[in-house]
């Protein structure tokens, strides 16, 4: 009944361990900070990529985010709110850089417009037909997400792809829980409408 929140396979340390790493990092322990980085950098990278549609820019902004986070770690009052705080910083960087410039169009090829190969999770058990269909689906899904209005794309990526709690998303965006809940639902309805033809139901 639940979405693949639980089935996403997302593991990771429990909250207490994370808080311990954060406290160590606040005292200057680079090793602890690297653990935090390893845990959250892929999420931040993919979130930023969804907003800017460029792997190179996404890497650059992710890097800036984590440097800033380390420098401002002392200002984080509640260590349990680290993730929304981290994403808020990443989001701010995205909007600072791209306020006047719309995100680039997503490439449907395996090489994006910056010349980087789009990494894919290749399932070697698929037949050629299945692989082709999978590739087609990826392109459709990429297009669907990219064409979402920015307001909906944000909440969709954070909820459906990053699996953040609604309360955390509201903190990241600085909006009310009710408005975030409404927009998440509307974003999902738009996505469902676009991929309906590909559903097995």
């Amino acid at each position: 009944m639940a979405t693949n929140r639980a089935a996403s396979g997302e593991g990771g340390p429990d909250r207490e361990l994370l808080v311990r790493w954060i406290r160590s990092a606040k005292k200057g322990d680079i090793g602890s900070y690297q653990r935090i980085y390893d845990l959250f950098a892929p999420k931040v990278l993919n979130f930023v990529y969804r907003m800017v549609n460029s792997v190179e820019e996404a890497e650059d902004l992710t890097q800036e985010t984590f440097v800033t986070v380390y420098r401002k770690l002392g200002s984080l009052k509640d260590d349990t709110k680290f993730e929304p705080w981290l994403f808020r910083i990443a989001r701010n960087y995205v909007y600072q850089r791209y306020r006047s410039r719309p995100p680039a169009a997503v490439s449907i090829d395996q090489i994006d417009e910056d010349g980087h190969e789009i990494t894919q999770l290749v399932d070697e058990r698929k037949t050629p037909d299945e692989a082709f269909q999978a590739r087609e689906l990826e392109q459709v899904v990429e297009g669907v997400i990219e064409e979402l209005p920015e307001k909906y794309r944000e909440v969709f990526v954070l909820s459906a792809l990053q699996h953040m709690k609604y309360e955390e998303i509201a903190e990241v965006l600085g909006r009310s829980l009710a408005s975030v809940k409404t927009d998440i639902h509307r974003a999902r309805l738009q996505v469902r409408k676009r991929v309906k033809d590909y559903l097995k139901v």
Binding site: M1, A2, T3, N4, R5, S8, A25, K26, K27, G28, I30, Q34, Y37, D38, A41, P42, L45, N46, Y49, V55, A58, E59, Q63, F66, V67, Y70, R71, K72, L73, G74, K77, I118, T119, Q120, L121, A134, L137, E138, V140, V141, E142, I145, S159, A160, L161, K165, Y166, K181, I184, H185, R188, L189, V191, R192, V195, K196, Y198, L199, K200, V201
Partner: protein
């Protein structure tokens, strides 16, 4: 629960974001409503399809090396054992100490300025006194000179007056002025005053 409300909450229900009572209400409605149940199933499948076919960018190792290099250039301000609260109090205490030191410095400066003013006042008084003494001395000298210079006065000088003048002039550093030979008091000044009994 009505279908309209159920549909509005479908996404939150699937994401397990509803409260206990709301979730129970949804479950009851879905058990009895095929339309809403199909709606929920379609929504869930769409999300599964998207999640399974989304391109995910992998993290490249150079990213961490760049982050680490920049961090080492400008390390974070460490909280240490004081913690955030302690650091705040410490900065307040440092500000207070600086203000106190400034206050003491200003007070000390004012004290020194006051001491200088007092010394200047004392110097002025001493100078005035000196001037007064000088003027007094000059006045006595001039008075003696007038006495000496007025023969008419000298002729009528009584022995008592003479003795007074004698005493004054003997003690006066300017008495040489009265010892002028033409002075009617000249001989009187050089002689010892006679006692009253000998007159």
């Amino acid at each position: 629960m009505k279908c309209e409300l159920c549909c509005e909450n479908l996404t939150a229900y699937l994401d397990q974001e509803l409260g206990t009572r709301e979730s129970e209400g949804m479950r009851e409605h879905l058990d009895g409503c095929t339309v809403c149940r199909d709606e929920m199933r379609e929504l869930r499948e769409a999300m599964l399809l998207v999640d399974s076919n989304t391109v995910r960018i992998e993290l490249r190792p150079p990213l961490w090396r760049n982050v680490k290099a920049q961090i080492n250039d400008a390390p974070v301000a460490r909280q240490g054992w004081l913690g955030a609260l302690g650091a705040r109090w410490l900065s307040l205490a440092a500000t207070g100490a600086a203000a106190l030191a400034l206050g003491f410095g200003l007070w000390g400066y004012q004290q020194r300025q006051e001491a200088v003013r007092q010394q200047e006042a004392r110097n002025a008084i001493e100078l005035q006194l000196y001037m007064n003494n000088y003027i007094h001395s000059r006045q006595v000298e001039e008075a003696a000179h007038r006495v000496v210079a007025v023969p008419a006065v000298a002729r009528h000088a009584t022995p008592a007056a003479t003795r007074v003048v004698h005493r004054d002039y003997r003690d006066n550093p300017f008495s040489s002025l009265a010892l002028h030979s033409s002075s009617p008091f000249g001989s009187a000044l050089t002689e010892e005053p006679k006692s009253e009994a000998t007159r």
